[in-house]
Symmetry: C2
Subunit: 384 residues, 2 copies
């Protein structure tokens, strides 16, 4: 397989934009941004992988940018939608089917919490958690972090601190939905939404777009002196032992590996590195507890020590392993199909040294991780 | 790239099934059927590509068949959804990422004609044809065939005859929605829906599932003495010259190539054959005129001579190049995400000699073709 690089990243600000723009148009604008960043012409793009959960016609990109006839595949995998698009693009270039492709994602989420809507139609059958009414996401995520607190001693104080960090980082990110640092008190005193998760510890489903130009390393060197290599791009579904616990985490008592753990393991093997080699990471923080649990699952610390990792300041910009330097989902919100690509956008800026006031010093290796319902995960490792 | 084969095909009858089953469950049952046909265990499947336009969670397959953690990508490309799933699976195996994968599709279509619903949300912007109200499919397809009739002399009589053939073939297919041969009069006197298209010349959006097990030729030989080789699997979007005429055909006056023509051209090159080498073909017959036009576009006859090809009996079972031996969309209906895989199911049966009363004698090479809105096409060539 050939080496594969990212030579351009683009983003459409995450937020709420009313009737100004369709979701697709945000994706398109992110694509235009990525092409410009790469300095490459649209006509050289040989295939597209478009991610959206609500939208279905990312192939409209050819109508806006040029009817070149290229294949554009629309993909959808809940929160891990971007991971599917990037993995498919990465594989197609690695294998030599194409030299230059595009992966992009966009979304215009309905307002309100993400619900497991019409499980029959969607194919997401009601397992026990559905039957007892755990149908919107804070409910099951709350139970998961509550168990983590019980087993490992993670505290509400730590949940608040994750969010303080996210909002501080988000205040430095012009593409975040919330660009305002919040005090500890503002977060700790915000409304309790679903015990133990408070309002300012939750991510908002929202709107936005993000895109990357992916190409072979040979082509990349023609466009930039600083290509960012995709060292691994892994996508996993749920595993044995997790059938009735779809939102499993690495528990002290439930020993089954999660899709995140398996995806991370395979990604590290594929990249030939370990978590100790990472300089920066973006992990899925649907709520602040999720960041703590996912730091553990991708191996930034041993199981149960995610809270301590935070307390030590390791995950701060300037810490040992900065996490969610872009503000994470908590500050950016989650435009489903674009969210994983927003993480990649952030890591690419960091590896290039282009992250401005939130730059991690001399970052060389970064990771992005997404966990999505009902048990899918994408882990991508990038290197400069 | 390695040689790639299909070693198993499965299908869930197309039709209407009320609340009996979800769309996903029809896809799952088709997968079970395909695994059985291949004689392969689920645990050996290394990746899945799930196609559906309405559904989003084909990855639920791992919940029903075994939580092996394999990647399952959900794809969606209108009528060409199956073509995306098969192309991705084919490429992944050809490149050596996996040895054995699954492509499956399913759908539970809403009742009524397929409309360009909420173009803003979907990203399918309103071009001129939308603005003037051409929003449900028979409208623009009617204009297209009407022009073909004007330019090439295609007749209403020929439109009826396509449908007579489809229903005769469908009567021999236990998985078709309509399994009753209709007389010329029944079709010619059926209600005019959208001039010149009559009720029995139109396909019904419906429900169903279909699946294939795709693997490397090396693996295939361990499972069967008669693997069917995927000689080409090509996916295209619309091209320059077609921007304002999204449902273009190969017109005498509009010379721009259609996505179908481009996909067919690339597929023939890739397979190292020409249309004259085909023994059997399944083409997209959203209505009977479509079959005539698509026969031309994939090169079964020169432009404008699709009607004559039919009149000569060439497209009958027993003719020079039998077309839609399974009854086509007209008899089977169109369960969007599964429709292209249903075509492949038919061709694989034909190449194996397993098509029973509708068997094409000694068929060695077959083609499937889909055209989907708003200008996407999939062409797949299979060989025994």
């Amino acid at each position: 397989m050939r080496e594969v690089a990212i030579i351009g990243v683009g983003i459409h600000k995450f937020g709420r934009f009313g009737d100004e723009k369709t979701g697709y148009e945000m994706g398109r604008d992110a694509v235009i941004d990525a092409l410009k960043d790469a300095g490459i012409e649209w006509k050289l793009i040989q295939a597209g992988y478009s991610g959206s959960v609500v939208g279905r016609f990312g192939d409209a990109i050819v109508q806006d940018l040029g009817l070149t006839g290229i294949p554009v595949m629309n993909v959808s995998n809940a929160c891990a939608t971007s991971g599917s698009a990037v993995t498919l693009g990465y594989q197609a270039v690695a294998a030599g089917f194409y030299d230059v492709v595009l992966a992009f994602g966009y979304e215009k989420m309905p307002r309100g919490f993400i619900a497991i809507a019409d499980p029959g139609a969607s194919g997401m059958r009601l397992l026990w958690f559905g039957t007892i009414g755990l149908l919107v996401n804070p409910l099951y995520f709350a139970m998961k972090i509550r168990r983590h607190m019980e087993e490992y001693g993670t505290t509400e104080d730590q949940l608040v601190k994750v969010s303080v960090k996210s909002h501080k980082n988000g205040s430095l990110n012009p593409n975040a939905m919330y660009q305002k640092a919040l005090t500890y008190e503002e977060i700790a005193e915000s409304r309790m939404v679903c015990d133990p998760i408070r309002l300012y510890e939750l991510c908002a489903p929202n709107e936005g777009g993000a895109a990357v130009v992916i190409c072979s390393m040979d082509v990349a060197r023609r466009y930039t002196a600083n290509p960012v290599r995709i060292a691994a791009s892994v996508f996993k579904t749920r595993l044995y032992g997790t059938a009735e616990v779809p939102h499993i985490y690495r528990s002290a008592t439930i020993k089954a590996p999660t899709p995140v753990m398996e995806a991370a393991k395979e990604a590290y093997e594929s990249a030939g590195i370990g978590p100790e080699d990472l300089d920066v990471a973006e992990v899925q923080d649907t709520h602040s507890g999720d960041e703590i649990m996912h730091c553990e699952e991708v191996g930034l610390c041993p199981p149960g020590e995610g809270g301590r990792l935070l307390d030590e300041g390791a995950t701060e910009i300037g810490g040992r392993i900065p996490v969610n330097t872009g503000g994470g989902l908590i500050s950016c919100g989650e435009a489903l199909g674009a969210s994983g690509l927003r993480q990649i956008h952030e890591i690419v800026l960091q590896l290039r040294g282009d992250a401005g006031p939130r730059q991690v010093k001399d970052a060389k290796v970064g990771l992005t991780q997404v966990y999505g319902a009902p048990g899918v995960s994408s882990v991508i490792i990038l290197k400069r």
